[in-house]
Symmetry: C2
Subunit: 374 residues, 2 copies
């Protein structure tokens, strides 16, 4: 990639390194195959049809989504096996039904009798997974909660019971593959125990779905599990690098930015990427190494030692050395192009309407649109 090519891009801009993304995608696809489970990638990070096509090498396949807008965009692009993995609001069931009528096999999740009752009243059944709480992270029922079987019976009577799912969101705070593998086993045990609780009552539970990027990368055994969900692995980010799931060289996403000023007495370099381009996400704040609003790389993507975006206003970033660094400040004249690696790929990507792809040949590739909204 020449600087001339990058200079054609308006900064700030979201860059996507296609070769890194493809490597990340293939790694987890292979891993799921070896573990004997179906991968159901989460499209909430990428929110891009072009990325989704590359996960399945041109074909469609089972996907997870975080909004009905994502589901509608993916279905229009040929993906018909969709899990909407946010507890269903009864007011959204009409929209789910409309998708199903068009031939989209979309399933929902829920963890309450009220939601199951709302499904029971519909003109035609919607497949539903019961959400299981494996680690106290957010929603879901404990596998031994008697309400689980009550809901299972209601869904079964309505022709809606499809299985169980869980997400060990706390694995994002587990550092190293040993600790992450423990969360993978916690996920597996909770989901399998819930499926057994249903089956003991004579209820079918064909789908046992688990996953998060850290647990998908560390799981050693997924006996009893049928499918695996993960999303951020396609791009990776500094939060994942900080807990050892990937290295900085695996991160496929960066924000291209231009140096626009200096405060030399303070050691500040000002860039045109503020929180509007980087997001306000500070996922590394409580990790062993706080990466501020992102790690600074040169225009070729090489990390510049100890240089981070230490503060951000709406359209200004302030680049400084980490506290205690003994590095010399590099020469970064006004107009210099830099790339910023994100704390959290989902959040940084969401600040942008499109990806500028860097092709596998290292040259500027196409623009890929993102979809947003709800």
């Amino acid at each position: 990639m020449s600087v001339d090519e990058l200079n054609r891009i308006t900064t700030p801009a979201l860059l996507l390194d296609e070769a890194r993304m493809i490597r990340n995608i293939r790694f987890l696809t292979d891993r799921a195959n070896k573990l004997g489970v179906q991968l159901r990638p989460h499209i909430k990070t990428a929110k891009s049809i072009e990325v989704a096509y590359r996960v399945f090498e041109g074909g469609s396949g089972p996907v997870t989504v975080s909004t009905l807008a994502e589901a509608e965009a993916l279905f229009a692009a040929g993906f018909s096996d969709i899990l909407y993995a946010v507890g269903i609001a009864p007011s959204k069931l009409e929209r789910v039904l409309a998708l199903r009528k068009k031939g989209c096999d979309i399933a929902v999740i829920l963890d309450s009798e009220e939601q199951a009752d709302a499904l029971s009243k519909l003109e035609s059944p919607i497949r539903a997974l019961i959400e299981i709480d494996s680690d106290g992270h957010r929603g879901g029922l404990r596998y031994d909660d008697p309400v689980l079987v009550t809901i299972g019976r209601k869904l079964d009577a309505a022709g809606s019971l499809a299985g169980v799912m869980t997400h060990a969101g706390e694995s994002y705070f587990a550092s190293g593959s040993e600790a992450q593998a423990e969360f993978a086993e916690i996920e597996r045990c909770a989901a399998v125990a819930a499926s057994e609780a249903l089956r003991q009552e004579g209820l079918a539970c064909p789908i046992v779905s688990v996953g998060s990027t850290p647990t998908a990368y560390s799981a050693r055994d997924l006996s009893g599990v049928t499918e695996l969900r993960a999303g951020v692995y396609m791009f990776f980010d500094l939060v994942m690098a900080g807990i050892g799931v990937c290295s900085a060289d695996d991160i496929a996403l960066s924000v291209l930015t231009t140096v626009i000023g200096h405060q030399p007495k303070k050691g500040w370099t000002m860039i045109d990427a503020g929180w509007m381009a980087l997001s306000r996400d500070r996922g590394t704040e409580k990790q062993a190494v706080d990466q501020g609003y992102g790690v600074v790389c040169d225009s070729a993507g090489q990390v510049i030692p100890d240089l981070i975006v230490s503060a951000a206003n709406q359209e200004h970033g302030i680049v400084t050395h980490r506290p205690g660094s003994e590095q010399l400040l590099p020469e970064l004249p006004i107009g210099t192009l830099l790339r910023i690696l994100p704390n959290h790929a989902c959040a940084t990507a969401a600040q942008h309407a499109k990806y500028q792809v860097i092709g596998g040949d290292g040259h500027l590739g196409p623009i890929w649109e993102r979809f947003g909204g709800w």
Copy 2:
């Protein structure tokens, strides 16, 4: 507003209370008139033509923008007097020139000789303000920095010198009108001293521009200043309420959300507004009262005592009481509609592509599009 009307909206959604917005707009317009300065509102918060039209009651007027995309959108809508208030990258000058050729009187800001030199080389002059650092917040030159006059001479020779500008960003951390009035005076003194430094050298300085919402609300005297900039005042937010610039009743922006679950043992209510709808901005974190990811109101917009969004995942918010609250948890069954007041209006609005207006009659009004990108 009936709940039936709100139920027609897909949640999460960004609501804009037009009556509150108009009240906020009129207040600062009157204040600028009394202070004898031209108001040049910053459109970076609203990013909406419809809002900009209402600031000037149907006509166009002088505006401030944070991106060239904003400038282009506003010019297309009839606004021709525009200040692009982020230090200019030389690579963006072509785009500024293209706007000027179409008749847009857009000005840029800068604080270095390199930037002034880049302006000097252009085929036709671009008006520029020299950025002054009044409070150490981010960019700009101190008013007594000898480089100020050097830059002034370069711009003057190029036919580009339009004046000086400053922004007391540190005023956001000043609580109460006394402390904010001190920042207003710091802004005024720095900008006026810089204008005098230029004039002493025989350089013209027609524009002396200052502003931030806290200083615009607290300034007692703006002698020597010609124009005042502010943006967030149109909508207000919890950060501004936290330092006493407004009250919660002045906040025109909220996120409509639906209850989607509970974890009763933990006192958690789950909503379908996560950080994707609320933003990751935690501007109140270091204020006297930490408002989490936002203050919870009922569907009519009434604050529910002590209830905040205490945690957020991508599409999930967790509503709890503040630590130490003695309030009883209200009944919030699945499907209940709530409104969340934002920490930072600029950041929360940026997560959405449109506003659902609540009209002055209290009923659902039109949809207003937002523009984004760079």
